[in-house]
Structures are given as C-alpha cells and as structure tokens.
C-alpha cells in the first residue's frame, strides 16, 4: 500500500509536476473547485457556471473540428437539439433534470449522426456550409410547430438544476471536468490506452491515406460526430436547466461561431485550449461589463483582444504559452520545463550548441 502510494506520488511528480503546463492546469482546476469559498458572489458563480458549461461546448467543437478536421460551422445544432429535448421532456412531461440531461445528450448524439451521415461525402468548406445550414433549417422547423416548441418564445419554465446556486455550480463544474477529461483522453495521440487519438489525427491529416492504411474512416467519423454531439448535448441540457429556457437564440449563427472563437483563441487541436479560451474570454467580457463604459465597449474590447492575440499567436494562446514555458526534447520528444538545459529523461541538451 505504502509503496503503491509512493509510486503514485512519483508518477504525479514526474508526469505532472515536471511539466509546467500541467501544473497550471492543476492549479486552475483546484481554484475553480474552491471558487465558491473564495468569491461567493452570485454573479461570479453565475459567470463561472456558464463558462464551465460553455467550456464543454467549445471542447466538443474542438473534438470534432479541431481533431478530425470536420469543420463544423453549425455546432449550435447539437447544443440546441439537446437543450430543446431536455426542456421538452421537462416542461411537458415533468422529467427531472438528472434524466433529461442524459436524454438530451442522446438527442445530441442522434443529431450528430444525422449531420454526420450526409457529411461523410463532404469535406472542407462544403461540409462547413452544410453543417452551418442545419441549425438555421431547424429554426424554421421550430417556427412551424410553435405548439410544441414554443416558437420564438422557446420552452420556458424549465426546472432548475438543483435548489442552490453553489450546488448548481458544482454540478456543472463536475460534469464539465469529467467531460473534458474524457474528450482529452480520447484525443490524446500519445496515449497508450486509448488509441483513437492517433486515428483521429490521421483522419484529419489525410483521409485517403487513412483508408489506405486500413482504417474505416466512415466509422470513426460517425463516432466523432456522435461523441461531439453527445458532449455538446450535455452542455445544451445543462444550459436549459441553468438558464431555464430553451429558445431559438441558441440556434442562431452567432451561437455557432462562439465555440469556434473560443477554441481558436485558446488553441485549436488541444481540448484544453478550448477550455482556456472560454475561461479567459467569457469572464473577461462579463467582468468588463460591470463598468458602465466597459459595458458599451466590451465586445469591441473582446474582439480586439481576440484579433491581437491571434495576430501574434496564430495557433492560440495556450499553444503559444506552452511553446514558451515548455521545451520538447529534440531526441526523445519529452516535455521539459523551459529552464532546463538537459532533458529530464534522456539528458540530451535542450538548446542547440554551435
């Protein structure tokens, strides 16, 4: 037992404490979990609850579009379908949140498959446009059946997630942490346990070659669409119960752009970049709003930050930071902290010497 714990500790020390990026992530998550005790203000809790929820949403976009290269400009579809399903079940049938959210997520999976199947033949911008069309078409459908969907009002009077603000926050945060960990694991190209990561990368890089390597890309693409739909659906279900309304605004074009903006800002093809993007941009804008001048210029400010950051860090903020605090060993490709001169594993020099 003791030795096991010791090994665990050594693993922790070697794999997490030695890599600055992971240390930052660890500190960040810890802080999030302590947040209600540090700043118990309801507005702050609200902002961070929403941020956590959007983090799932953004990460699920990165999972689909970043990792597999299936550029999805209509990601709001999965979110919206799930939010509507959860709200429908809850409002019309009184199903409680713990059931509606998973069912909503399943609805997200179905939406994912419905988009994924036609998308199999399409690529690049063609795919992007078809996906962009779906939520807009769905808005049309929603307006056709106002009795069921509530038309422009949406479905309101949805049950609250739990009774208390803090509990709401923890539920969302826990679900978000778990979802993001799962997505991160699924996409980890170096993982020795789950091999999907490397295959997803391969499909993004060159689908034809992937097929010539014997990979059934159809299956994987559908899988990715449904997993992404699932997690976007989780976010959508949480949203319906948190904001307590599911309306057409969550299917609008801009709502689809949001996860893309966050992800690109944070760093595409990373999952954690999407999360960081949300947690930087969203609270920032909300906090700037507290000032009357900030309220007017908040979006201008956000956009300027976005543009400036992308101009200098075209791959997003986390990847830039990572490149500046971490060094990859030229020989064994292990991640080292920038300050080291020799690789922590293979002792190869980390800096070129002439």
């Amino acid at each position: 037992m003791g030795s096991y714990l010791y090994r665990l500790y050594r693993g922790f020390q070697g794999e997490i404490l030695a890599v600055p990026g992971r240390v930052i992530a660890l500190i960040f998550v810890t802080l999030l979990f302590l947040l209600p005790h540090i700043i118990p203000h309801p507005l702050v809790l609200k902002i961070f609850s929403l941020a956590a929820l959007f983090a799932i949403f953004a990460a699920s976009w990165d999972f689909l579009s970043g990792f597999t290269g299936q550029l999805n400009l209509g990601h709001a579809l999965f979110f919206g379908v799930s939010a509507y399903s959860a709200a429908l079940l809850n409002v019309h049938l009184g199903v409680p949140p713990w059931a509606t959210i998973p069912i909503g997520a399943i609805a997200g999976v179905i939406a994912g498959l419905l988009v994924g199947i036609p998308a199999l033949r399409l690529r690049g911008f063609y795919l992007a446009l078809v996906t962009l069309a779906f939520p807009i078409i769905l808005i049309g459908v929603i307006f056709v059946f106002p009795d069921i969907t509530g038309g422009e009002l949406g479905l309101f009077g949805v049950d609250r997630l739990s009774g208390s603000r803090v509990l709401d926050y923890y539920i969302i945060l826990l679900v978000a942490t778990a979802s993001i960990l799962v997505m991160w694991k699924l996409t980890d190209g170096r993982s020795k346990i789950v091999r999907t990561g490397v295959i997803l990368h391969a499909i993004r890089e060159d689908e034809i070659t992937a097929r010539a390597s014997g990979i059934n890309t159809v299956r994987y693409k559908l899988m990715v669409f449904s997993i992404s739909g699932f997690f976007a659906g989780v976010a959508g279900g949480l949203y319906a119960h948190y904001i307590r309304i599911a309306g057409p605004s969550i299917l609008e074009l801009f709502f689809s752009f949001q996860p893309i903006i966050w992800t690109i800002f944070g760093g595409i093809v990373t999952i954690y970049g999407a999360v960081a993007g949300v947690f930087i941009l969203y609270p920032l804008v909300e906090l700037v709003r507290l000032h009357p001048v900030g309220e007017i210029y908040r979006i201008v400010l956000m956009v300027l930050i976005l543009i400036v950051v992308l101009l200098f860090m075209p791959q997003g903020i986390t990847r830039w930071v990572r490149d500046h605090i971490e060094e990859i060993c030229p020989r064994c490709k292990l991640i080292n902290i920038r300050t080291r001169r020799y690789c922590r594993a293979c002792r190869a020099p980390l800096r070129a010497e002439k």
């Binding site: 036609p118 199999l120 033949r121 399409l122 690529r123 911008f125 063609y126 446009l129 078809v130 962009l132 069309a133 779906f134 807009i136 078409i137 808005i139 049309g140 459908v141 307006f143 056709v144 689908e207 034809i208 890309t217 074009l253 801009f254 752009f257 893309i260 903006i261 690109i264 800002f265 595409i268 007017i296 210029y297 979006i299 201008v300 956009v303 300027l304 976005l306 543009i307 992308l310 101009l311 075209p314 791959q315």
Partner: protein, 290 residues
C-alpha cells in the same frame, strides 16, 4: 404564378448575386475565408448613408467615394489583420469574424441599432405583365452580370487573375514563380471590397441599413459560393440565382410558410451538395472522393 416566380426569383437572385460576386472572388477563387465580406457591404452602405444623407453629398459622388474608400479599407484590413496569419486558415476565419463584429459594434455604438435606408439610384418600378420590380432591382441584375463578366475576364485573361488562382492553390510555389503573394492577396481583397461596396450601393437601397445587416447575407453568400462550387465565379452567380428562385417559389407556393424561405434555400443547397459534393462547378479529383 409561374411568371411571377420567374421574375421575382430573378430579381431576388440578382441581388444575391451582387452580394455574392465579390465573395466568390475572395473565398471561391482566392480561398481566403473572409467572413467580414458582408460587413464590408454593410460599411459601404453606411458610408453612402453618411455621405449622401448626413453630409448631404449628391448620391453619385458619395457612391463613388464609398467604393473608393472600401477598396482601400479592404486592402488595409488585409494588410493589418490577415496577412500575418494567412498560413492559418482558421485564424483567418476567426479574425475576419472579429473584424466583422468590430464593424458591427463600432456602427452600433456610433450610429445606434436603428434601421436606416439609402436612396435608390432611380425611384419607381417597371411593370412586366402586371409584375412589378423596382428599378433598383433591375440594376442589381445588370450589375451582377457585369461583375461576373469582368471577374471572369480578369481571371482568365490577365496575369493577375492567373496569379490569384495560383496563390490560392499553393502559396509557396507561387512565390517561386515570382508572384508576390501578399500583393496578390491585397489586390484580391481590394477588388472584393470594392464589389462589396457596389453591393452596398445597389442592394442596400432595396433592403435596409443597420448594424446587423451583414449576418443574413453572410449565409446567403456562403451558400451561393459553395453551391456553385469553389473556384467558379459563374457557379457562384448561378448559386445565388438558384437560392433566389427557391426562396421565391416558397413564397408563392406556400405563402403561409414564407418564413421558411431561408431554410428551404439552404435545404436546396444541402441537397445539391449531397448529390454533387463539389458543388455545381467545383473541381474534384476522383481519387479523393470520399
């Protein structure tokens, strides 16, 4: 009914085509996903509005001036924001979305979110067999066809046109051929911004002017260009007309469902793309079919 659908579809398609033609150049041909294109259209419309209504300039000079300013704006925007990241297409996309939102916010703050209008060149309408079309809409059709011809000439007959296509395909190799990639992109953006401003002068008087006016046309132009097939200008124009006809048909055939016109237009696009994944006139390599 049929002639009404035909004429109205033509009229609507003409307006969509004017909006789409500049985008077809910058996105379809040059493959720069400039999401701010319709925001340029919006800014062009606002410039005309400011000059002709607020400052009281006569309309033709204000239009010419607006087009000139937009031509420069397009180039400046490219130089400032997009040139640096041209190797990262998603960054280009997001930055251009950012630029569009920036325009939107600046206009919102500066002018408020009010609906405004600019005057058409000629007031009034023509009547063909009892069906009325505003002069401005006829002008739109003519403009779109003129622009189509001009761009096709540019692309097929001039070195710059050839270079635009080359740059879109392979920037690195274009360099080696002595093509200044940045300059070609700047030129492309300039031309497309000019065309966006032309759309501002031609289309905005029929629609209306307000700071969110870029969003709806954005889906239209994206759909038109992709429907026609990337790389093909005539495809984009055709795509615009197809959308126009589809939408008009909805209004005449199911008036109760007129609100579905956008959804139906996009559905038509989806169906076409499922049948022809490369769009109507897009290039496809058979061995890369999925």
């Amino acid at each position: 009914m049929v002639e009404a659908i035909l004429i109205n579809g033509l009229v609507l398609g003409g307006m969509y085509a004017v909006l789409a033609v500049g985008f077809a150049l910058v996105f379809g041909v040059a493959k720069i996903l400039n999401m701010a294109h319709t925001a340029f259209y919006m800014v062009g419309a606002y410039l005309i509005l400011i000059m002709s209504i607020m400052l009281g300039f006569p309309s033709l000079p204000s239009i010419v001036l607006a087009i000139a300013i937009m031509g420069i704006t397009g180039r400046v925007i490219y130089k400032l924001f997009l040139d640096r990241v041209k190797e990262h297409p998603v960054a280009v996309m997001i930055i251009s979305v950012g630029v569009a939102i920036l325009f939107q916010e600046v206009l919102l703050i500066g002018f408020g979110g009010h609906f405004r209008g600019i005057d058409p060149f000629i007031h009034g309408f023509v009547e063909i067999g009892g069906i009325r079309a505003a002069y401005q809409q006829v002008i739109a059709i003519v403009t779109s066809l003129l622009a189509l011809v001009a761009i096709r000439l540019l692309l097929s007959k001039t070195q710059v046109g050839n270079a635009i296509r080359a740059v879109a395909e392979d920037r690195e190799i274009a360099n080696v051929m002595g093509i200044d990639v940045s300059r070609i992109c700047v030129i492309t953006m300039g031309i497309s911004a000019v065309l966006a401003a032309v759309a501002g002068a031609v289309v905005a008087p029929v629609f209306m002017v307000h700071p969110l006016m870029w969003l709806h046309p954005l889906t239209i132009v994206l759909a038109a260009v992709v429907l026609g097939g990337l790389g093909s200008i005539k495809g984009s124009i055709l795509g615009a007309f197809i959308l126009g006809f589809a939408e008009t048909a909805v209004i005449f055939l199911v008036p109760m469902g007129a609100f579905l016109r956008g959804a139906v237009g996009l559905s038509v696009m989806v169906v076409v793309l499922l049948l022809r994944p490369e769009g109507l006139f897009g290039v496809v390599f058979e061995e890369e079919r999925l």
